[in-house]
């Protein structure tokens, strides 16, 4: 998918952390992507000259304060929204997972996971074995015949993850998928997601407002500034996996990202006062 628009000169980006030689092919590339929302005479730039390069099979986290255009960015990547200018390249199909599990309450867990396969007219037997595999992957085999309302929030998100994986998307876009879960469940799901990502090799773009979560999960963490959304910093994360949320490297990185995030927020405050 390529959406072409006007091209501008790239803004300089700040790279923090050890730069890594990565020769894997690009899965997602944004070049100078700008999104302006107009209502009458007013216009608001949600995204302003975003440059982004996501390698195939990598885990990219996007963090930012409110109004950084995280949702706009995901919509642009998912092809739901088109950028005002700039170029978006997504190699392959993009799948999307939300903060709400958005499971269909009238379908069982297995039927929810099977739906994307049905929509692509996958043969019945292939479908059944694929659903069984995916439920095994998210440890929900015993709950195949349950309805979503019988599950806990964490279990629903795992079903949603299995359903998103059933789309066989090349790039999985996740919009604060664990934002509504309690801390205990969230920590366990980080471990689960990391394991599943390593097993499946899917490219993941994960949007969150939780800095520690981003440091826990990402190969690279992109910090967006707010109003307009710009890439303020890119952190390459070289910590070994599997990681733990409480380990030193993760908390040090989270501290560093938070410091940068606060600078951005403060800069915004000064900017507001001047106006």
């Amino acid at each position: 998918m390529t959406i072409a628009g006007d091209l501008h000169l790239a803004e300089p980006e700040i790279h923090v952390g050890p730069g890594r030689l990565d020769d894997r092919p690009t899965a997602v590339a944004l070049h100078n992507v700008t999104k302006v929302y107009r209502s009458g005479r007013r216009s608001v730039a949600a995204l302003d000259g975003i440059n982004l390069d996501v390698r195939r099979g990598s885990f990219t986290c996007i963090v930012g304060a409110s109004g950084c255009g995280k949702s706009t960015l995901l919509n642009v990547l998912a092809g739901v929204d088109t950028p005002t200018s700039g170029q978006v390249t997504v190699h392959g199909r993009a799948g999307l997972m939300f903060q709400e599990s958005a499971l269909f309450p009238w379908l069982t867990v297995a039927d929810n996971v099977a739906l994307p396969l049905r929509l692509r007219k996958t043969a019945r037997t292939t479908r059944q074995s694929r659903v069984a595999e995916l439920l095994e992957l998210v440890h929900l085999t015993d709950f195949a015949d349950r309805r979503p309302h019988e599950l806990s929030g964490g279990m629903r998100q795992r079903v949603a993850l299995a359903r998103a994986l059933a789309q066989e998307a090349d790039v999985l876009l996740m919009d604060e998928p664990f934002g509504a879960l309690d801390a205990m469940t969230r920590d366990v799901l980080h471990d689960e997601l990391e394991r599943i990502w390593q097993q499946t090799g899917t490219t993941i773009v994960f949007v969150t407002h939780n800095v520690r979560e981003a440091a826990r999960l990402g190969d690279q963490v992109i910090l967006l500034s707010s109003r307009p959304g710009r890439v303020a910093a890119t952190f390459d994360v070289d910590l070994p996996r599997p990681r733990r949320i409480e380990e030193r490297g993760v908390s040090d990185l989270a501290t560093e990202i938070t410091r940068r995030l606060r600078q951005e927020v403060a800069r915004h405050g000064r900017h507001e006062r001047r106006r």
Partner: protein, 328 residues
């Protein structure tokens, strides 16, 4: 269940507190030992099986498997109904005893129920009930088809909605008796006239139920369907129609009530020779001053209405609601 949630919430609070403290002063995290992991395959598998155990443990705590008490539910839902019927009969009897009207005009419950019992023993009574129920079924089926098609058209197209949306509500509020003059002009004294009125009574409710059902689908489900790759028709089939089912069912129930009322009004007004029905029997009993029979027929009408609502509609609706977790 509640206790688990409370504990989890407390954990969430603690977690945030630690997170915020480390952001400004990293020294506070030294209380938690940094986990060092050896990256051998053995350790990985160990970590994985440990993770699987953790997951299974969380799931077990989160699932509420308290069995439902069904028999107790049946009794507690039926005794108030029995009590209400007894109370109604008692009031009726009291009115008769008060001699407000002579007994040949307002018969006592026992007289009417005796008559009802005798009527139920005659084949002709069942034939007339059969005629009426056949008309109800035909009319309701036609209304279902028309109402569903209109409902889908309105909920799928903004243009159709603006054009006929409010008209449907207008049709719904129109008393069915008001259609009869037109029905008689169009169809004369025939089955067609009765069906015409039944369909016009029920179809708008069914269409409106479907439209409301579609409007009440959470937007995130519509979005999820699109993301998973639905096209126009598959979206309707896999997301919109199943999502609208609870609201649609409400419409069906209301549509049935309107159909039943319109049908009885129709049978009172449009009497077809040699084809006795519940409505014509009611009219006939009045004409020959057979008041116990008149009240017996009224009881039949009431009981059929209640039975169809509670056996057919309430049962299916309860099933739909339970499967989606909409029951308390």
């Amino acid at each position: 269940m509640a206790a688990t949630n409370a504990a989890a919430d407390a954990a969430a609070g603690d977690h945030r507190a630690i997170g915020e403290a480390t952001d400004t002063a990293p020294a506070t995290t030294t209380a938690i030992d940094p986990v060092t992991l050896d990256h051998t395959a053995a350790v990985l598998t160990q970590v994985e099986s440990h993770l699987a155990e953790e997951i299974a443990g969380l799931d077990a705590l989160d699932i509420d498997d308290t069995p439902r008490r069904r028999l107790a539910g049946l009794w507690s839902s039926s005794w108030p109904k029995i009590a209400a019927v007894m109370l109604a009969l008692a009031i009726w009897q009291l009115v008769v005893w008060s001699k407000w009207k002579p007994e040949y005009v307002l018969p006592a419950p026992a007289t009417a129920l005796d008559r009802l019992w005798a009527m139920l023993g005659e084949g002709s009574t069942w034939a007339m009930i059969g005629t009426t129920l056949r008309r109800a079924a035909t009319g309701f089926a036609i209304a279902l088809a028309i109402g569903t098609l209109i409902g889908i058209a309105v909920s799928m197209s903004r243009f159709v909605r603006t054009a006929v949306g409010s008209l449907i509500t207008g049709f719904q509020t129109m008393p069915s008796v008001a259609w009869f003059p037109l029905a008689l002009v169009l169809f004369r004294l025939s089955e067609g006239a009765i069906l015409f009125v039944v369909v016009l009574g029920a179809a708008p409710s069914i269409a409106n139920g479907l439209i409301n059902g579609v409007d009440q689908i959470p937007p995130v489900l519509l979005r999820a369907g699109r993301v998973l790759g639905t096209r126009r028709l598959t979206h309707l089939r896999h997301v919109v129609l199943p999502g609208a089912l609870p609201g649609f069912f409400g419409g069906l129930k209301q549509g049935w009530a309107f159909a039943w009322r319109s049908l009885l009004a129709g049978e009172l007004l449009v009497i077809i020779a040699n084809k006795p029905s519940i409505g014509s029997q009611l009219q006939f009993a009045r004409d020959v001053n057979d008041y116990p029979a008149m009240i017996a027929v009224m009881i039949i009408i009431l009981v059929i209405g209640v039975l169809i609502d509670s056996l057919v509609f309430a049962g299916i609706e309860r099933g739909i609601r339970r499967r989606r977790g909409l029951t308390a």
